[in-house]
């Protein structure tokens, strides 16, 4: 029997269509963010030596596979299950799932979790035991990332305070980077990196590095604009378009700032740092891409690109922590910086818009709390891995390359 068309059925149909548009947008964005995985893989492979290429590609492949399953089984529930005391979500989550929205949301969040894990592989590249890295990825995506994520996105204590991290400068990027920082420090520098002085260990293929950065930039539109989680109606399309614009402007400004600063400091425009500058701008805008103006996005990008050059130098030359791809500076320092800058540039509540210092305070608190969480848990995980499976390959393997000894195959013949 055919239903009669009434205003009620018509309204229901319109609502349903709008709902479908939202879900389709979230799934498209999910695919875009998934595509950041090859972006990371190419960037990290390019910035490291050819003898370790199969190894770094393997890590990028495996952390996505492992992370997807670990986040589905445990992580998602910890992050988005019913809140317990503001700290974690409730297991198991299946009962709470609404089949229509939540599966697309689960997918979207899965690719985010995998992004956090994959950041670490760059920081510890070229010397880390493969087994240890797999175990680390499991614990990160199942437990560490979801818990701090719950504080901010899952209804935990930081979200109650009004902490604003729209698409994950802190939730995703900083968490990954701080863990990478601890990992790189505990594992120690690559052989030959610091012997009295700071040596350059040039990556083997800047073509790959550049391709990787372009892919990441492309994926970032899904990362940030997808976090709107809706696309139906004028309000949403305006918001998404705004996010596309701020994201792109900040990435561009980050590139130019890193280019100019490195040009002045090292007497020539260097590609390797300019590429990091693009990512720095993108990471920094991620927290506030929805609530800062396009002009502010440019300023945030410029600050991020500047911080990138000095951050890389600081970590390399002062702390002497060997981060082959610059992951800690790109994702950690700029993730924190971008999150804090929301407190200045937010059109509502930002210091520069007469909003006083309360939002800024909350932003700083969130950055510090998440950093403490990530640094602390990473310290424990890496120390445990060190005494159990071992963290570092032998000197002989490191010299000959991880490809042949760990995996028995080379990327190049």
């Amino acid at each position: 029997m055919e239903e009669t068309l009434t205003l009620n059925t018509l309204q229901a149909a319109v609502t349903e269509t709008g709902h479908s548009i939202d879900i389709v947008w979230v799934l498209i964005a999910t695919a875009l963010v998934m595509f950041m995985q090859p972006g990371f893989a190419m960037a990290e492979a390019g910035f490291t030596r050819s003898k370790n290429t199969a190894n770094i590609l393997m890590k990028n492949l495996v952390d996505f596979a492992v992370g997807s399953i670990a986040f589905f089984l445990i992580g998602y529930a910890l992050m988005f299950g019913t809140d317990i005391g503001g700290l974690i979500g409730k297991l198991p989550f299946m009962e709470d799932i609404r089949p229509d929205i939540d599966l697309s949301f689960l997918m979207f969040q899965t690719v985010f979790a995998a992004t956090a894990a994959t950041i670490v592989s760059g920081a510890v590249a070229e010397r880390t035991e493969f087994k240890a890295y797999i175990l680390f990825s499991i614990v990160t995506t199942a437990i560490v990332y979801p818990i701090s994520g719950h504080w901010i996105w899952g209804g935990g204590w930081l979200s109650d305070l009004g902490f604003h991290d729209f698409a994950g400068s802190t939730v995703v990027h900083s968490v990954g980077a701080w863990m990478g920082l601890v990992g790189a420090a505990i594992i120690g520098p690559r052989i030959g990196k610091y012997n009295g002085k700071v040596n350059a260990i040039p990556g083997h293929n800047l073509t790959f590095a550049a391709l990787g950065v372009f892919i990441l930039w492309f994926g970032w539109f899904g990362f940030n604009a997808g976090s709107q989680l809706a696309a139906n109606g004028t309000a949403n399309t305006v918001a998404i378009s705004h996010i596309f614009l701020t994201t792109n402007l900040s990435g561009a400004a980050g590139t130019l700032a890193a280019l100019v600063i490195s040009w002045i400091r090292y007497k020539r425009p260097t590609l390797s740092l300019s590429l990091n500058g693009s990512l720095a701008g993108l990471v920094a805008i991620t927290a506030g891409c929805d609530i800062v103006s396009p002009e502010s996005a440019i300023i945030i990008g410029l600050i991020a690109g500047t911080a990138l050059v000095f951050g890389v130098e600081f970590i390399d030359k002062v702390l002497r922590i060997d981060d082959p791809v610059g992951a800690v500076t790109v994702h950690g320092i700029n993730g924190a910086l971008g999150t804090i800058l929301v407190g200045f540039f937010a059109k509502e509540g930002g210091v520069f818009y007469g909003g006083g210092f309360s939002l800024l305070g909350v932003q700083v608190l969130g950055v510090v709390a998440v950093a403490a969480w990530a640094l602390g848990t990473a310290f424990i995980i890496f120390k445990v891995l060190k005494v159990t499976v071992g963290l570092r390959v032998s000197a002989r393997i490191e010299e000959e390359g991880l490809d042949i000894y760990e995996h028995g195959e080379k990327a190049y013949h």
Partner: protein, 115 residues
């Protein structure tokens, strides 16, 4: 018979090859080689300024009858010349004997086809 080896700039290889071809040297071997020396190039990678310790050059090598040696040296010098430090070297060696594997021809005869 003499063996002539020359270390030349990579950018000069095509000119040197052409020059030798013009004076009848059609066969030669070459390698891209790296060496160490006093002249180093400054590079920057991710904020670290460093010197490359290796210098890239092309090494060419061929065997000629004695009467061609002088022409060859003149030709290589002409075509590999920029006037800047690092234009390279030419070395000339005596070759005791040579055989063509297919025919068994030896000495000078092994170097050229029957005329």
């Amino acid at each position: 018979m003499k063996k002539i080896e020359a270390i030349i700039r990579k950018t000069k290889f095509e000119e040197v090859k052409k020059g030798l071809h013009n004076i009848g040297i059609d066969y030669l071997s070459f390698w891209d080689v790296r060496g160490v020396g006093k002249s180093v190039e400054e590079r920057v990678y991710r904020g670290v300024i460093y010197d490359t310790s290796s210098i890239e050059r092309t090494l060419i090598s061929f065997i000629v009858r004695d009467k061609y040696v002088d022409n060859c040296i003149v030709s290589i010098r002409e075509n590999a010349f920029t006037g800047e430090i690092g234009d390279g070297r030419i070395f000339v060696y005596n070759v005791e004997d040579a055989y063509r594997i297919r025919t068994g021809d030896s000495g000078d005869r092994s170097l050229y086809d029957e005329e």
